[in-house]
Amino acid sequence: MIYNVSYVVLGGEHPGRMQSQESRPQVGEKMQLGDLVVEIVEVRELMPPMGDFVYLHATCRPAKAGREAQG
């Protein structure tokens, strides 16, 4: 499957990101968005999948400093 993901960071200060990826984002996962390390707090399906494509919206919050980032 290909996951078309919109990442939005709580607080509105960060512009967020859209990207396609081959793994489903998971709640609790940490990742790098620009110069910010964030933690995913919610993942929801925005539209029904079509073929091999899944449309997701991931809400994130800034991760605490010093934690390891993935991606």
Partner: protein, 154 residues
């Protein structure tokens, strides 16, 4: 030339056969941009859409298009970053209007595939199934972006 295997991972082309994707590949032109390069400028005429193969771009709005607070700040506002597999510039292919935002490269060695409007529309005329499938997918992509935008207002 862009590979069919890569194009299979692009939602905009979902539902096309390998042969149809090969026809799309023939009209894709590869371009490489580096951090800070402006790929398309707000209010400029639209003549192509882009698929991100590798790297990252930022979508920017000039200050007079956003909030009163932004009017006081001369720098454009970053709306969103787009990464691998994402498409931009597709609105101009649909409505022929001017660019609604500036897109600037956010990482060095960003690889893009551009599809020109004239080539794309000619392909759609020659093969209406390709035209139907891609236009349906463009509508779906715009719907996804609109739903994301709506959530931002909640």
């Amino acid at each position: 030339m862009v590979s069919v295997e890569f194009l299979k991972k692009i939602a905009l082309l979902s539902g096309l056969s390998d042969d149809e994707m090969a026809r799309i590949a023939q009209v894709c032109q590869e371009t490489v941009a580096n951090r800070g390069d402006v790929i398309l400028a707000e209010n400029a005429p639209s003549d192509s859409m882009y698929i991100i193969h590798e790297g990252m771009v930022e979508v920017l709005l000039e200050p007079d298009k956003v909030t009163p607070e932004a009017l006081a700040a001369p720098a454009p506002t970053t709306l969103l970053a787009l990464g691998r597999g994402q498409v931009f510039g597709e609105m101009g292919l649909v409505d022929s209007g001017a660019r609604s935002a500036t897109v600037r490269c956010a990482s060095d060695n960003t690889h893009l595939f551009a599809i020109g409007r004239a080539d794309f529309l000619q392909l759609c005329e020659e093969d209406t199934r390709i035209g139907y499938v891609v236009m349906r997918n463009i509508a779906r992509d715009l719907s996804f972006k609109l739903r994301v935008r709506n959530l931002a207002w909640k």
